[in-house]
């Protein structure tokens, strides 16, 4: 009897999606699925399944090898540490209501790397084994300490491939900061919550500060071009901005990628935006309308391609395993291995969200420190639960090959990692997202296919993106 490494999920009336363990998929009618499930295949079913890599006949060693290869292709490969999130200061010059990082006031002492911590960070960089490095500076507001940023960037000169991202509120641009930004290997990441009124309500609190931010953002885009800058909105799901206004605020600046983020249930948001623990159906509907608005705009104006970042990442998870290295959606999701966070006091965390939970006093998820190391029992304990292979719900889920595991998100929302998977926001969110993506994949609309093809970075637009078996 053939091995059928398949899972099935209904896509609506009279349509079922079948997904193989290695991620290949097809859509079919319920009759076929019933034949599959109960071993009543018709004569032409088997050739189709084998051709699609969805069946392995007895004794087919090549098919077995291909199956294992496909599984391996989907799994996160072991990798050396080459991505550091560094928090040189916890001080910040803003007080955003939903701040997830538990900032310190600008004048507060004791919230920056001291000389010993800087030296230990630089030693850690010297000890990295690979030839490439990516460093993301977070905070607080990291541009309050351009000297520390410069010290780190200069220390990375030996790496063949370097990328630095400075996550900044862009409230301040001066002769100390601009030389950092001038470095072609430095990218700028900032928050842009929509139009001026929304941004001011959420972040800057005053018209003056809002205008300053806007002027600085326009200045860096004019100076370096839009490709050097990424901006992300943080949206209050209870009061989201009008979709076209939000898109226009990005398009007007030449920014094509919008990472639609609801308020993260971290830091100050845990108290001030407690509803952010769970996303609502209203938010999911808003997200779908947002993506469809982008699809309509891309069809109307082919000179540029707009995308919602996370939707595009999930789409590439379906078709292009390994294309993105988005550390919040991968399986296994090793913690403290290929990337770490080093806090203002030298404490090491496996993720930035873990740092936030610790700062908020929810739970200490530190795995060590930059002085004595982080290959600890605490790290090993977290990594015993870092995949979705063993979860009984994930074992039955058609989207398992594309999905991931986020222990820290579960701990942040529920204080535990053993909640039944289907009851977690992570699972509900991704069930919805992948359902929506497969709806788009099989939608007979050239505008939809056009956008999906652009988000997949394809040269052309195929006639169909998904296989259908009648």
């Amino acid at each position: 009897m053939s091995f059928l490494p398949l899972r099935a999920r209904a896509l609506g009336q009279d349509r079922v999606l079948c997904v193989a363990d290695g991620g290949r998929f097809f859509r079919t009618a319920p009759d076929f699925v019933e034949r599959l499930g109960f071993d009543r295949r018709a004569p032409d079913d088997q050739p189709f399944l084998i051709d699609q890599g969805c069946a392995i006949a007895p004794g087919d060693t090549l098919g077995e090898a291909a199956y294992l290869y496909a599984l391996a292709e989907r799994a996160t490969p072991p990798a050396a540490l080459d991505y550091l999130i560094l928090v040189p200061t916890l001080r910040c010059n803003l007080s955003c209501s939903y701040c997830q990082v538990s900032r310190a006031p600008v004048a507060a002492p004791g919230f920056d790397w001291d000389a010993a911590t800087l030296a230990a960070v630089l030693d850690a960089i010297d000890g990295l084994p690979g030839t490439r490095i990516k460093i993301e500076f977070q905070g607080g507001e990291p541009t309050l300490r351009p000297d520390l940023l410069r010290a780190v960037i200069d220390r990375c000169a030996r790496f063949e491939t370097r990328q630095f991202v400075i996550c900044t509120n862009l409230q301040q641009l001066d002769d100390r900061i601009l030389p950092l930004f001038d470095d072609p290997e430095v990218y700028i990441s900032t928050s842009l919550d929509g139009d001026a009124e929304t941004h001011q309500r959420n972040r800057t609190a005053s018209a003056g500060a809002t205008a300053q931010f806007r002027a600085n953002l326009e200045a860096v885009i004019a100076r370096y071009g839009p490709r050097k800058v990424s901006a992300l909105p943080t949206v209050d799901p209870a009061d989201p901005p009008e979709i076209d206004a939000l898109i226009d605020s990005y398009v007007g600046l030449g920014l094509d990628s919008i990472f639609l983020r609801p308020i993260n249930y971290q830091g100050f948001a845990r108290k001030r935006h407690s509803a952010s623990r769970e996303q609502s159906d209203g938010w999911r509907a808003y997200h779908e309308r947002f993506v469809r608005a982008l699809i309509a705009r891309n069809w109307a104006d082919r000179s540029r391609v707009l995308e919602e970042t996370y939707t595009a990442i999930c789409l590439r998870r379906i078709f292009q395993p390994g294309a993105d290295r988005h550390v919040d959606l991968r399986n296994p999701n090793p913690l403290g291995k290929d990337y770490i966070v080093i806090d203002h006091d030298g404490t090491v965390y496996p993720t930035d969200e873990a740092r936030m939970l610790s700062r908020s006093g929810v739970i200490d998820l530190s795995i060590g420190d930059v002085f004595s190391g982080w290959e600890t029992e605490r790290r090993a304990l977290l990594n015993r639960h870092a995949s979705n292979y063993d979860d009984p719900a994930c074992q039955r889920c058609a989207y398992q090959p594309f999905c991931g595991r986020d222990l820290v998100d579960d701990i942040a929302r529920y204080g535990r990692i053993d909640l039944p998977r289907l009851e977690t926001e992570f699972c509900r969110r991704h069930l919805h997202l992948f359902d929506f993506l497969f709806e788009l994949i099989y939608e007979d609309d050239p505008a939809v296919r056009y956008s999906l093809s652009r988000w997949l970075r394809l040269d052309g637009t195929p006639a169909a993106l998904g296989v259908t078996h009648p």
């Binding site: 398949l6 999920r9 609506g12 349509r15 363990d21 499930g37 039955r396 289907l422 509900r428």
Partner: protein, 82 residues
């Protein structure tokens, strides 16, 4: 308007059907599952009868596929982990 669909549970596949019904609640939101003596009744306010039937067909087949593939799949993942 609430739609419903009833599916008989074959004696041999009763355990499989019960398992499928249990998982269905989590995988498809807004569906009420009621277990009767030899049948399962699905109802939902936002889905029609044909869609409920498709969901049941997919859920039952999925549970059967899972049961058939479980051991070999686990062995493959174990091979990967090594």
């Amino acid at each position: 308007m609430t739609a419903s669909a009833q599916f008989e549970i074959d004696g041999e596949l009763r355990d499989l059907a019960l398992s499928a019904a249990q998982w269905l609640c989590g995988f498809y939101s807004g569906i009420r599952v009621e277990l009767q003596s030899d049948a399962i009744l699905l109802s939902a306010g936002h889905l029609d009868r044909d869609t409920l039937t498709t969901i049941w067909t997919a859920a039952l087949a999925n549970e059967r596929l899972h049961a058939s593939a479980r051991m070999r799949r686990a062995a493959a993942f174990e091979t990967l982990a090594r």
